[in-house]
C-alpha cells in the first residue's frame, strides 16, 4: 500500500464496490473500508494523501472519526473529500474541528463518476 492509494470509507458495501470498480477502471489505486475501526487499521500502515469519507458511518460520524485521527492527517497534509448530502449541516459540524482545513470538497450523493475522478486526480496530485 502506498501513499497515493486513495482510502475510501463508506459503510454501504455495494457503493464501496462501485467506487472501487470506477477507480480501478481509471487506474487509481484504492483501498475501501466499511467503518472507522477498519480505517484505523489501515492508517497504522500508511497515511493516504487523499481520503474519501462518508459523513455518516455506523458508530461514529465521519467527521468524528477524522477528528480522532487528525494529528496524523494534518502532519501528512492529507486531503479529504466528504460524501454528504447536506452542505449546511456538514459546515456546522466542521466548524472549529481540527480537520476543517483538510476538507477540500463535499460531494453530494448521488455523484457523477467523472466529477469524483476529476476531484481525486486534482487533490491527490496537489
Amino acid at each position: 500500500m502506498s501513499k497515493d492509494t486513495v482510502l475510501v470509507v463508506e459503510d454501504d458495501q455495494l457503493l464501496r464496490e462501485v467506487i472501487e470498480d470506477l477507480l480501478n477502471i481509471h487506474q487509481i489505486k484504492v483501498k475501501t473500508v466499511g467503518d472507522s475501526s477498519e480505517a484505523n487499521d489501515w492508517l497504522e500502515e500508511y497515511i493516504p494523501e487523499l481520503i474519501i469519507c462518508d459523513l455518516f458511518l455506523p458508530t461514529v460520524s465521519g467527521i468524528q472519526w477524522l477528528n480522532s485521527v487528525s494529528q496524523d492527517l494534518v502532519a501528512n497534509n492529507s486531503s479529504i473529500i466528504l460524501l454528504s448530502a447536506d452542505h449546511m449541516r456538514t459546515h456546522d459540524m466542521l466548524m472549529g474541528s481540527p480537520i476543517q482545513s483538510l476538507v477540500k470538497h463535499q460531494l453530494k450523493k448521488p455523484f457523477k463518476n467523472d466529477e469524483l475522478v476529476r476531484l481525486i486526480r486534482f487533490f491527490s496530485t496537489k
Partner: protein
C-alpha cells in the same frame, strides 16, 4: 413541542383572521399554547401536529437513506454506459435502448430526491432545530402516557430515575427526543412477549445523561447494532413480526441531530435488549458523541 406545522399554522391563522386578529406572517413560528382555544381543540392540534411532525421527520430520513443506494445505481449506470460506448462494434438496438432508459430513470430519481430535499428545507425547518429547556423528569412522566399507548396492552412500562431530582433541567430538541423514545419503546414492545415488562431508566452522571430502554424480548442475536441501525435491516428470529426495519434508523437519525449516541446491546444476565441513548449538554462531550 409547541410550534405548529406550517399547514396547521395556516389553519389557525384562518381562525384568527376570522376574528379580525391578523397575525404578522414574518413573525416567529406560531406557538399554540399562546392561542386562545378550548382544551379539546388544543389537544387535537397537539395530536395532529405530532403526526405531521413525525411523518415529516421520517420522510427526511428516507430521503437521506435513499441517497446511498441511488448513488450506487447512478454510478453503475454511468459505468455501464461508458463501457458500452467503448465497444467498437455497434450495440444492438435493444441494448442501447435499455441503457438509455436506465440513464433516464436514474436521472428522474435524482430529480425527485432533490425535490424531496428542497421540500424538507423549505418546509418548517425551524421546528427541527427547536431546542427547549425543560424539567426532564416531568417531561418524561408526561410522555409516559403516549409511550404507554405504543406497547401491547398486556405489557408493563416502568420508569425509573437514578441520580435525578425533579428540578433537573435539560436542553434539547424534545420533539426529536420523543421520536427516539417512541421508536425504542415501540421496538421493545414489538420484539418482547405479551406479558413483558419494559423499563426506561434515566441516569445522570458527570456530563452525560443516559436514557435506557430495556426489554426482555428476543435480543439482537448475532446482529450488531450497526447493522440493525441501517435502514431496512431487520434482526434475526423476527420474520414472524411485522416491521419495515426503518424504526431504528429513524431513531438513529434523530439521535444524530441532537448530538446523541444510540447504542444497542444484549442484556448481560437476562434475555432481551438494551437501547441506550447517551446525551450531553456539554459541547466538548457532544463532540465525542455525534
Amino acid at each position: 413541542m409547541n410550534e405548529l406545522h406550517p399547514l396547521l399554522t395556516s389553519l389557525v391563522e384562518e381562525f384568527l383572521n376570522e376574528g379580525n386578529k391578523v397575525r404578522d406572517s414574518t413573525s416567529v413560528p406560531l406557538d399554540f399554547t399562546q392561542i386562545q382555544l378550548n382544551q379539546n381543540t388544543k389537544y387535537l392540534l397537539t395530536q395532529i401536529n405530532a403526526h405531521l411532525s413525525y411523518d415529516h421527520f421520517v420522510s427526511s430520513v428516507l430521503e437521506h437513506e435513499l441517497r446511498t443506494p441511488l448513488a450506487g445505481i447512478v454510478s453503475t449506470v454511468q459505468l455501464l454506459q461508458a463501457q458500452l460506448e467503448a465497444y467498437e462494434t455497434e450495440l444492438s438496438d435493444s441494448l442501447q435502448k435499455w441503457c438509455d432508459r436506465l440513464v433516464k430513470l436514474s436521472t428522474r430519481m435524482e430529480f425527485l430526491l432533490e425535490n424531496m430535499k428542497q421540500l424538507h428545507n423549505n418546509d418548517y425547518s425551524t421546528q427541527s432545530v427547536g431546542r427547549q429547556t425543560r424539567k426532564l423528569t416531568s417531561w418524561l412522566t408526561n410522555e409516559r402516557k403516549s409511550l404507554g399507548e405504543l406497547i401491547k396492552s398486556s405489557q408493563i412500562l416502568d420508569l425509573e430515575f437514578q441520580m435525578l431530582d425533579e428540578s433537573f433541567e435539560y436542553t434539547t430538541n424534545y420533539h426529536l427526543l420523543s421520536i427516539i423514545l417512541g421508536t425504542l419503546v415501540e421496538n421493545a414492545s414489538k420484539y418482547s412477549p405479551g406479558n413483558a415488562r419494559i423499563d426506561i431508566f434515566l441516569e445522570h452522571s458527570q456530563e452525560f445523561l443516559r436514557i435506557k430502554v430495556i426489554d426482555n424480548g428476543v435480543g439482537l442475536g448475532v446482529n450488531s447494532s450497526e447493522n440493525l441501525i441501517k435502514a431496512f435491516q431487520r434482526g434475526q428470529k423476527v420474520e414472524h413480526i411485522e416491521g419495515s426495519g426503518l424504526g431504528l434508523s429513524i431513531a438513529h437519525a434523530a439521535a444524530q441531530r441532537i448530538q446523541a449516541q444510540l447504542l444497542l446491546y444484549n442484556n448481560e444476565n437476562m434475555a432481551g435488549t438494551t437501547a441506550e441513548l447517551i446525551l450531553s449538554n456539554n459541547e466538548i462531550c457532544q463532540k465525542t458523541l455525534f
